[in-house]
């Protein structure tokens, strides 16, 4: 199974633990959002806390996506903790 490195941007408080970016390898067929989060929690124990608070949304190629969306190698990926403007 071919793999490729994908950079995930960690927004807001998620960047506190290990900076604003982490790299990981995704299978070519991609992964749904909850699996991506599970993998990040395993590989980066410092992210455990931030990612377990829930209400994390994924953004793929500048579009916020539902949990069923598939993240593929080469996508521009970010994880959003709860947002708050104003």
């Amino acid at each position: 199974m071919a793999v490729e490195t994908t950079r995930v941007e960690l927004c807001g408080r998620l960047a506190d633990a290990c900076g604003p970016f982490v790299d990981l390898t995704l299978p070519v067929e991609g992964l749904p959002v909850p699996e991506l989060i599970s993998i990040l929690r395993e590989r980066f124990p410092a992210l455990q806390d931030g990612l377990s608070k829930g209400r994390i949304r994924a953004c793929i190629n500048e579009t916020i996506v539902p949990n069923e969306a598939i993240i593929r190698p080469g996508d521009t990926v970010a994880l959003f903790p709860p947002v708050s403007g104003g």
């Binding site: 941007e9 927004c11 916020i64 708050s84 403007g85 104003g86």
Partner: protein, 162 residues
Amino acid sequence: MSCQVELTEAGFDPAARLATFSASLGDEGAVVSFTGRARGKAKDGNAVGALVLETYRGVTLASMQAIAGDAHERFAITHSHVVHRAGRILPGEAIVFVATASPHRRAAFEAADYLMDRLKTEAVFWKREEHGDGASWIEPTAQDQKDTVRWLQSEGEENARN
């Protein structure tokens, strides 16, 4: 009709924005503005040195534009202006400015109220308060969530009536 949305790193003057907005109007009878200002005290009463707002690429501006578009669809407003700052904001400085205009006051009030509720809970910003010994992330409060849900409920009621 005009719907102007702006994201800026620079400080801005809400009164000057209101002046420009008002000068752009036609025969509208009602203008409402809201200004949100950075506070020098956190909820726990401790001093805040600055508020820092982070954004994400084009998604932040797009989220503001979507919210403003919804306000025009939902309320009988003819003009709106939304300005939101990003970056480091000092106490007393404006974080956000919203202005709405309509022939009648109810639509102008409701649209401004709606814009602020949705900006608070759905605009793509992450906020932290810097204080003496670090920084604290600020997420929408239970009240903010309740304020936004008001509009979902009344949307449901409107639909039920139709």
